[in-house]
């Protein structure tokens, strides 16, 4: 049951990701990104990582895609299809991606080909919260400092006046 759910969500994610990297309309690519991220959240749910799935929907779909759409609006991205959105070297890029996929895929199949997982319901907010605030509390604090640094960096970058 979970395998079928995961397969469906994964197929949707792959199809939408192909649209993200090949669509000729930038805004459509950003909206396909929403579909991809939602399908990946469904994959997390099928793996019994419900808290991660909810965080994925909240942060990625709710915040990051909105940021991307704002950036597209502020950079005056055209909404009509653009013929030159991909560079002339896209065949080489496709070759690199296919070779990398073959390498990584054969490695994964070779190493974990006959392993099975039995997802247990261990993805509740209680489990993750206990783990974060007991075992992972130092990385958690460092991460909050990093978020503050990123915030200050973004403000400093956007406040910079153009010289001469």
């Amino acid at each position: 049951m979970t395998t079928a759910l995961f397969a469906v969500a994964g197929a949707v994610a792959v199809a939408a990701a192909v649209m993200v990297v090949t669509s000729r309309r930038i805004v459509h690519a950003a909206l396909w990104l929403v579909v991809t991220l939602g399908a990946v959240a469904g994959c997390f749910g099928a793996l019994h990582a419900e808290f991660v799935a909810l965080v994925q929907i909240l942060v990625y779909v709710g915040a990051i895609v909105v940021l991307v759409l704002f950036a597209l609006m502020l950079t005056k991205a055209p909404t009509n299809p653009l013929p030159n959105l991909t560079t002339a070297r896209s065949p080489f890029a496709a070759a690199v991606a296919v070779v990398l996929a073959l390498l990584l895929g054969s490695g994964v199949v070779f190493a974990f080909g006959n392993q099975k997982i039995q997802p247990v319901p261990a993805g509740s907010a209680e489990t993750i919260g206990t783990s974060i605030f007991k075992t992972w509390v130092l990385p958690f604090e460092i991460l909050s400092v990093l978020l503050l640094a990123a915030l200050i960096g973004a403000i400093a970058l956007s406040q910079r006046k153009k010289e001469d």
Binding site: A29, A93, A97
Partner: protein
Amino acid sequence: MPLVLPLLLAVVLFCLGVYGVLARRNAVTILMSLELMLNAVNLNLVAFDAWHLDGLATGQTLAVFVITLAAAEIGLGLAIVLLLFRGHGHVDADAARDLVEHEESPT
């Protein structure tokens, strides 16, 4: 569920992200492809967590951390893209050649 199913999905998503980063011209679409790659990493973390079951929920915790890092990264990246747009009037990653090295030093 076989473990290779989520792992192969992560491989495909990661390679699509690699293709997008290499082939796209608009800087915002490059950032979107980066998000695809980070999602593949998260899928790996959650899959290995469901496989290993160490009782600490290590993979899921790290996946939440990576999502936070992605939020910080996209904020800074979009600030840089907006700065590029203000300075040049475009967000074409191929045409932004401010850091190009010339063969003979122009002095």
